[in-house]
């Protein structure tokens, strides 16, 4: 089943700084809720492992994440697909773009994802709110990360 989500976050750092953090696997790993692993395997490809719980379905998701359509320091597309074993699968991506605003940076994201298996069967009512919460948790940490010194 399809899931869509979009939003905007105001960050108090320059576009260049935000861009650098968005491309730093260590930052992404520390900000992704439940993240256990986020390792570069080649260029803009990463191997990721995260434990995520959606309603009654809890699983350790393993998959690949790719950065593409890179337009530094303006926008990129982050996409991936993961298998949660018995819990099902998820795949999708987000267009992330940056613009100058109020002395900081406005980050705009637009997510489209497909989920399947047990997650779609049991968790679909909860998937939108779970995704929103995951995004909120990510950006709280990411907002803090962009103000950290390099």
């Amino acid at each position: 089943m399809a899931m869509t989500m979009n939003g905007q976050v105001q960050l108090s750092a320059s576009r260049e700084v935000v861009w650098a953090k968005l491309n730093d696997p260590e930052v992404l790993k520390s900000c992704i809720p439940g993240s256990e692993q986020f390792d570069r395997i080649a260029g803009n490809e990463f191997q990721a492992v995260a434990t995520v719980k959606v309603g009654p379905v809890k699983a350790r998701w393993k998959g690949k994440v790719r950065l593409s359509d890179l337009d530094p320091p303006n926008s990129y597309r982050i996409s991936g697909e993961g298998e949660g074993g018995v819990a099902g699968f998820a795949k999708g991506g987000a267009k992330v773009s940056l613009s100058d605003k109020d002395g900081g940076t406005l980050l705009t994201y637009d997510v489209e994802a497909q989920i399947g298996g047990k997650l779609a069967q049991l968790g679909q009512r909860l998937i939108n709110s779970a995704a929103k919460k995951t995004a909120d948790d990510f950006f709280i940490k990411f907002a803090a990360a962009v103000t950290q010194p390099q």
Partner: protein
């Protein structure tokens, strides 16, 4: 009639054990050394299986085996089959694709098993399943049957071009066309008969056990027909020769058709039990049941009925696309054909009928028989057309029905069936009285005062039950005979054991079958026990579905009882020193006609075994008889249901405020059990009409996969039901029984939709008629009126 005989509302003997937790279901069976199976299922609706890595899983604690389709194929375990051959209009045979018990090469629906883990405990099996790594290559999925045949639709099986399994037809296209050309009025409708999840209260379960000493397999299984399961698993799947395979169906908690079929899991449990040398148990979780039990219905239909100037129906034409899912389940092919097209005449004299059915594959779980199986779909077509036709022509719907009813029997319809007996006027007349049809206008005005829209809807349905005779179904493509067997064993003390090839999973056979024996032999009900569901006890039988157990199963018992009586009379003649022809058997006593000399049933039974009064050359000792009964025709239960609803136009919420059911089931053995069957059937039909609907999204994910998203009917969804009966006995079996198990589910959905559409003044309403659907239909109707 004696107090516990035919017609007595005896309480069900089996309920004591069911309501006190003493039932014995498959999950209650635990075998020494038993281990547990867990199925890893495809999360994708359509995907190539490139590789399955099982090593890590096999190394997990407690794991005995991790098996995939590769091992299944290597062991030459055969495919599951569909047992009814349908021939297309071009003369070609249906396109049955291979259905391995574990997907091999390609997964074709979400839930298709791709591997099984067998471990000491279920928890260990589940943990290990997380370590199985399946490399899928995703393929575009097809979930919508209406799109299955379009150009560019994903092809699911190579054997079936454009996913088409067969293109079947029935009736006379030419005659229908002629009638339509001269019609005064034509009513046209498009609709979807919504897909349903069966949801028996007991999920499916299986235990396979291998005895290496006797080289035999035993299966405990939630099945409605253990002998057919054994036959298929032996002759087609090839698990063991038939005499080395025992199938036991202990207490089974509901089936509604979904437990007729032979599923992958029981095949795998038997196969795995032999591989690991230990009994292997599997019990479905509710989530698995949603994904893997064969679903019901799922038709996309266009139908038209032609009427002449007097409102007489002159012709009917129907075009249906039937979704059979990813594989052809055991009897799936027969449901949208011989259980559907043949019932399209309804209770009406329709001179010409033509029906076309295309069955298609989709990436969804297989679809097969579900309570009513084809007949609810046929009833929906006919009864919607009649009702809408009446509204369009401005004729009272009851009057239009009367005008078109079949009056003379036997009646040959244009779609194979010969209705042998019925009285459709009688059931309609009684229903109109019970429902106070005359007072409806007043009630409607009363509802309007409370800002509610009141509507009334009819369903004068017909069904065909006890599918038979075997010769006829064989000529239509059925792979088995549809007779039934019975064995009556009289013990020396006069108590009786009846062995039947039927299987009970909620029907109350232990009571009704015993009532027939009690009546016939004049013995108390508690002296009769009914045994079923074990291939080692009952020699062969066809199981229970299609409301066949009364009409066919009881008839076999009656035939065996005839033989018992004949033999017992011989014994009594020797005891009473009279000619056999002078012995009269009545009220449990054998009497020499015209004298007061008699012997009681128990004395005769004992003498049959002591054999003191006759020589072995004259008469064999013992009192045990068997019979196989093959009916001469289907039976044709019919009736009239009237549903009255109140709709809240603000919310679209529909409340069923009154329900009248007048059914003609012929002879009734136990009116209380029959009424219970009617109640249950109506509840299921109301569920289909108002609440239930299995939804796959366009990627083939089941989004109504739990009881949170798939709404089942509850007590508060139904009013107190008024259930009455009319009785025209079936001439096709000795007691005149017609069958009652499916009637409610057949009659109810269309009665509800006819009532709601009457209330809201719009025919544009799909099932399930949720509050949202009704509200939207009301808004659309309003918009149309504004635009006009």
């Amino acid at each position: 009639m004696n107090a516990t005989g035919i017609g007595a509302a005896v309480r069900r003997k089996e309920d004591q054990r069911f309501v006190t937790g003493k039932g014995h279901y498959t999950d209650d069976v635990n075998r020494p050394g038993q281990c547990h199976a867990y199925f890893l299922r495809s999360p994708h609706a359509h995907a190539r299986i490139k590789r399955i890595e099982t090593k890590a899983a096999a190394a997990m604690p407690g794991v005995l085996a991790v098996l995939t389709g590769v091992e299944l194929a290597a062991d030459k375990i055969g495919n599951l089959i569909c047992g009814w051959m349908i021939t297309s209009k071009d003369g070609s045979q249906m396109k049955m694709a291979a259905h391995p018990a574990i997907a091999h090469g390609k997964a074709n629906y979400v839930g298709d098993p791709v591997a099984v883990v067998v471990a000491e405990t279920l928890a260990q099996a589940k943990d290990a399943a997380e370590k199985v790594n399946v490399d899928y290559e995703l393929l575009p999925a097809l979930a919508d049957p209406a799109k299955a045949q379009s150009e560019g639709a994903p092809q699911i099986h190579e054997i079936a071009a454009r996913n088409t399994i067969y293109q079947w037809h029935l009736g006379e296209a030419k005659a229908v066309e002629v009638a339509f050309n001269s019609a005064k009025h034509v009513t046209k409708l498009d609709f979807i008969n919504n897909r349903l999840v069966p949801n028996a209260i007991e999920p499916r379960a299986a235990i396979g056990e291998y005895d290496s000493g006797s080289e035999s397999l035993t299966l405990w299984n939630t099945t409605q027909n253990p002998h057919v399961a054994r036959l298929v698993m032996s002759a087609f799947v090839g698990l063991a020769p038939e005499h080395k395979l025992r199938v036991i169906a202990p207490d089974v908690g509901g089936g509604f058709g979904s437990k007729i079929f032979i599923y992958p899991e029981e095949v795998v449990c038997l196969w795995a039990a032999r591989k690991v040398g230990r009994p292997v148990k599997w019990v479905a979780e509710r989530s698995e049941a949603f994904l893997t039990d064969a679903h019901g219905r799922d038709h996309v239909t266009h139908a038209e009925m032609a009427f002449d100037a007097e409102g007489k129906a002159t012709a009917l034409r129907v075009k249906t696309i039937a979704n059979l899912g990813a594989y052809m389940s055991t009897f799936s092919s027969s449901v949208p054909t011989y259980l559907y097209g043949t019932l399209l005449s309804g209770q009406y004299e329709i001179p010409a009928i033509y029906c076309e059915v295309d069955a298609v594959y989709t990436n969804t779980v297989p679809v097969d028989a579900y309570r009513g199986a084809g007949r609810p779909e046929a009833t929906f077509v006919v009864e919607r057309l009649i009702e809408v036709g009446a509204r369009e022509m401005g004729i009272d719907p009851a009057d239009l029905r009367k005008k078109n009813f079949i009056k003379n029997f036997p009646h040959q319809t244009p779609v194979i069936m010969t209705y042998d007996a019925g009285d459709y006027h009688a059931s309609l007349k009684k229903a109109l009285e019970v429902a106070d049809y005359g007072g409806f206008g007043k009630r409607k005005r009363e509802s309007a005062r409370h800002d509610k829209l009141r509507g009334i809807g009819f369903s004068t349905y017909i069904e065909a039950c006890g599918i038979a005779p075997s010769q006829a179904v064989g000529s239509l493509g059925c792979g088995v005979g549809l007779w039934e067997s019975a064995e009556v064993r009289v013990n020396p003390t006069g108590t009786v054991e009846v062995l039947t090839g039927c299987h009970q999973h909620g029907q109350g056979h232990e009571t009704t079958f015993a009532q027939v024996v009690s009546e016939r032999l004049g013995i108390p009900l508690e002296n009769v026990s009914v045994l079923h569901g074990d291939t080692d006890k009952v020699q062969f039988g066809m199981g229970t579905y299609g409301s066949r157990s009364g009409a066919v199963g009881i008839s076999a018992i009656v035939k065996a009882l005839d033989k018992i009586e004949a033999k017992a009379k011989k014994v009594a003649a020797h005891m009473l020193e009279a000619a056999e022809g002078d012995i009269v058997f009545a009220d449990g006593k054998f009497t020499v006609a015209g004298t007061d000399k008699s012997s009681a049933w128990g004395e005769v039974a004992l003498n049959a075994y002591t054999a003191h009064k006759f020589a072995g050359q004259e008469l064999e000792p013992g009192l045990k008889e068997g019979a196989f009964y093959d009916p001469t025709n289907f039976t044709f239960p019919a009736g009239c249901h009237i549903c009255e609803v109140e709709v809240d136009p603000q919310t679209g919420e529909s409340e069923i405020v009154a329900w009248t059911a007048v059914d003609d089931f012929g002879t009734v053995i136990n009116p209380m059990i029959v009424e219970g069957q009617v109640h249950g059937g109506i509840a299921q039909g109301v569920g289909q009409a108002l609440l239930e609907g299995a939804v796959y999204d366009k990627d083939g994910q089941l989004v109504t996969g739990s009881l949170m998203d798939y709404c089942m009917p509850r007590a508060h969804d139904l009013p107190a039901l008024k259930v009455e009966m009319t009785r025209t006995p079936s001439p096709s079996n000795p007691l005149g029984i017609k069958g009652c198990g499916e009637a409610g589910a057949i009659a109810a959905p269309v009665a509800v939709i006819n009532a709601i559409t009457d209330a809201i003044g719009s025919e544009d309403l799909a099932m399930p008629a949720t509050a949202q659907a009704v509200w939207q239909a009301l808004q659309k109707a309003q918009d149309r009126r504004k635009a006009a």
